[in-house]
Symmetry: C2
Subunit: 398 residues, 2 copies
Amino acid sequence: MTPGPGIARTPLPQGFTAGGVNSGVRKYRPDLGVIVSDRDCVAAGVFTTNECKAAPVRYCMEILPNTNIRAIVTNSGQANAATGEEGERNNLRLVKATADSLGLKPGQVLVASTGVIGHQLEIEKIEAGMPILAASLGTNAEPFALSILTTDLVPKTLTSTVKLSGGEIRITGISKGSGMIHPNMATMLGYILTDCAVPAELARGLLKDVNQKSFNMISVDGDTSTNDCAFFLANGASGVGLATDADFKKFKKALTEVAQALAKAIARDGEGADRLIEVCVKNAPNQAMAERAARGVTVSPLIKTAMHGFDPNWGRILARLGAEQVPAAALDKLTLEMQGVKVFVDGAPVPFDREAVRNLLKAETVRLEVDLKSGTAEATAWGCDLSKRYVDINVDYN
Amino acid sequence: MTPGPGIARTPLPQGFTAGGVNSGVRKYRPDLGVIVSDRDCVAAGVFTTNECKAAPVRYCMEILPNTNIRAIVTNSGQANAATGEEGERNNLRLVKATADSLGLKPGQVLVASTGVIGHQLEIEKIEAGMPILAASLGTNAEPFALSILTTDLVPKTLTSTVKLSGGEIRITGISKGSGMIHPNMATMLGYILTDCAVPAELARGLLKDVNQKSFNMISVDGDTSTNDCAFFLANGASGVGLATDADFKKFKKALTEVAQALAKAIARDGEGADRLIEVCVKNAPNQAMAERAARGVTVSPLIKTAMHGFDPNWGRILARLGAEQVPAAALDKLTLEMQGVKVFVDGAPVPFDREAVRNLLKAETVRLEVDLKSGTAEATAWGCDLSKRYVDINVDYN
């Protein structure tokens, strides 16, 4: 994962270029970025389930899945949500300006927006910035990753190289998100690019499965955004395909790892957060309950504040599990570990060294593990602690 | 509503006495209280839907509804939740000690606990305090109301006098609650007492209806407690009953008003809160959606922080309504008012005086009104703003 701007370099898969510039919408930071493929991509997307969908989300839902996508343009600062018909028109202008500056057809361009809800895009500034953006394209992910940030502190990029039977392929993941994070379909914005040749029939199912174990399992504040989307683009530029079952498994595993790393980076960079909270619920009666229980713990403001203060308050975790309808029979026998220390065993509290656990809870990543002993389903969710800085950031964000 | 200890006096209905003392469990504040009726009461209760139910909750669910209840004992500081069989035994000892000191049978005593989850009751201290408690009984609600507080800043009591066809009756409401407030059945603790004669068959239905429009419509932090309960006790000591339909309507209306006043007082006293947020969703397609939408807005950390900073950020409200599955068709025509000022009309933003609305949002009570124009259902929910003090209070609460 990129530790910060200007330090690491994340190479894109073959055939992809990307760039990011300031078009003047935001004062100092880059606010307009694009990812371009030199050939047609198999493309899939997953989108917010929020009924208040931004114009770019509605547009992408219309044209995906698709097999001749060439670019994704993204602006930051203005979400183009709750902007009515003018928002729709501006979204089409953004798509057209991108296509024009890259010599593509509008139907080959995907679009995402992030920022304040309810403000119209400053489309003239964006259109004027487009030729500069088109001239800025390079083979690393960072300039694009920086251009899509809002309250994020760090860009989130990652490239994984996978050896398949036919040769090496690359998967690059890019994401943003820091607040209004409780995806129910996708995260704020996620992009997964590969030069592997992926059959169109597989693309959407792959993204859906991967998304359910990554972006859909994070929460910063329980607020589901109007603009969430995750894209998957495969351009086949490596000349390597998924030839065998082993290839497919290897590829899916790598894809999941990339998506999970991006998802965790978003939770870790949650507004005002000091640490990543990883919650694993094991041996649940079914998958839905495992997921709901794990997510429920990451969402609870009482658990989030306790984690902020290194407080091994297991009672709040039990209470939340019960509120998520984990059955009383499971609560009566569960075991709960904090950073590997058992604090509640077989349904009853056990003595533990409180000061030692407090110290363990000061780590960068805190792992809470719940064993329900009631089945075989398992899920992991990621969240972050709740600090006073979250309040500072959100009292007047415009 | 009582503004603070020692200022107002809230008389109990006829036949009721109450008291509160310090039994030594908590350092300075009273921690043990009891409400007593001089004759049998028709009694009903509603309880948390959390699967992790405290011992006192399980006990009361067992013996209610009932027609010969004489007392409710309540301890604060220890919730007696997640305490296993020892917790059950301690709960029965608490009930027996109360019955013994008041000359009642154990089956006539209800019990509620509030405080830290997972600690065993210091039952010997409580038993030793019981005779002192029994000797402290008086005809005002305050000593009891003070003894049940945890992080609350103010006691919450209210007496309403209602003229029925047969004469006057009184309804007294008492509640506590400040954190882990997102009741799903009842609030943290609510007690509604009346000297009206109420048929046993009506009691539970009345409480259920009233609860759904009051305690079930508040939220401080979205965390549902293990100990939530609301009790309704009617002892008939006034000699006045519900003789006519008009009496019933009048009584139910007064009961609802008492419960709503208590519920609003809990939300207003939410941990770290500066103000009460009242959210009214009108003209929804159905009741469930009206309630879910109104509650959703009160739960959103992003809206709560915006309200803390007087920020008229209507975009976050729209986003939350969409996340609560208010259909896009309704979002496209809704009107949203903040403190009576229209900021979004017929599905589109309208210009408004931002500074003027900021000033209006500084009030003690902020009202957000959403007109969905899609039906006739209506619901009001209450919450509070989210401040840095919430984080302070919850980083290490033990």
